[in-house]
Symmetry: C2
Amino acid sequence: MTVAVDDDLWSAIGDPTRRRMLDLLLADGGGTATTLSDRLPVTRQAVAKHLGVLDRVGLVHVTPAGREMRYRVDDAQLARAAAQLAEVGSTWDARLRRIKRIAEAVQRTRER
Amino acid sequence: MTVAVDDDLWSAIGDPTRRRMLDLLLADGGGTATTLSDRLPVTRQAVAKHLGVLDRVGLVHVTPAGREMRYRVDDAQLARAAAQLAEVGSTWDARLRRIKRIAEAVQRTRER
DNA sequence: GGTTATGTGCAACCAAACATTGCAGAAGGA
DNA sequence: TCCTTCTGCAATGTTTGGTTGCACATAACC
């Protein structure tokens, strides 16, 4: 009974820098490798590689606009990612609660 | 308004293998590097290193039992991790909903 | 039009992290 | 005791996140 997660999608959002990039793209409604790198502690080239990763898993889309490449978040795919996070989190919570419940039951049995 | 997450904790649960290890430890109520590697597509040594990572961030604890090292999940710390996952997920959801609401408002304005 | 500035992409190189193989030591079971 | 099994350490390979350096294209300015 393992949680079904898309490993590619998960590892894409697993990187801290990429998570912050998604935050920035959401906040500003889009951006380029250059504008993002201005607000991040990494170089433009590193950002460009991350954008490539995000693009491959469909979390962002590119639109050439003159000499710049404009990136924007794919709403549906990010929603999928958010759902996976919530699912894993709640699965763990459920298991922890079940374990706790069993432990308490054992405790009550011992007390008798 | 960035989401506050513990990067060490996040990167610990960010690795797919470590996530599956936590799942297995939860399901079986504990285990050793050897028992885990039997049910994972990696070697015992790789599992041992991952257990070291999980131990350093407090997600698991070790108990020497004879010649074997028994690991079990730390309930409180895993609950913290689950909460962080849920928080990031719900933050993204909220932002997506807000953007969608604004887009719809613009749409209504245009229609008039 | 020509020059300068800005945005992009490619290649080489570095460092850290994930994973492997190989070996040696310690603890149970026959 | 002998053999199995579980563990830990060291050397090595491979992937990934990050950097620097350079070349090229497009836009802006004179």
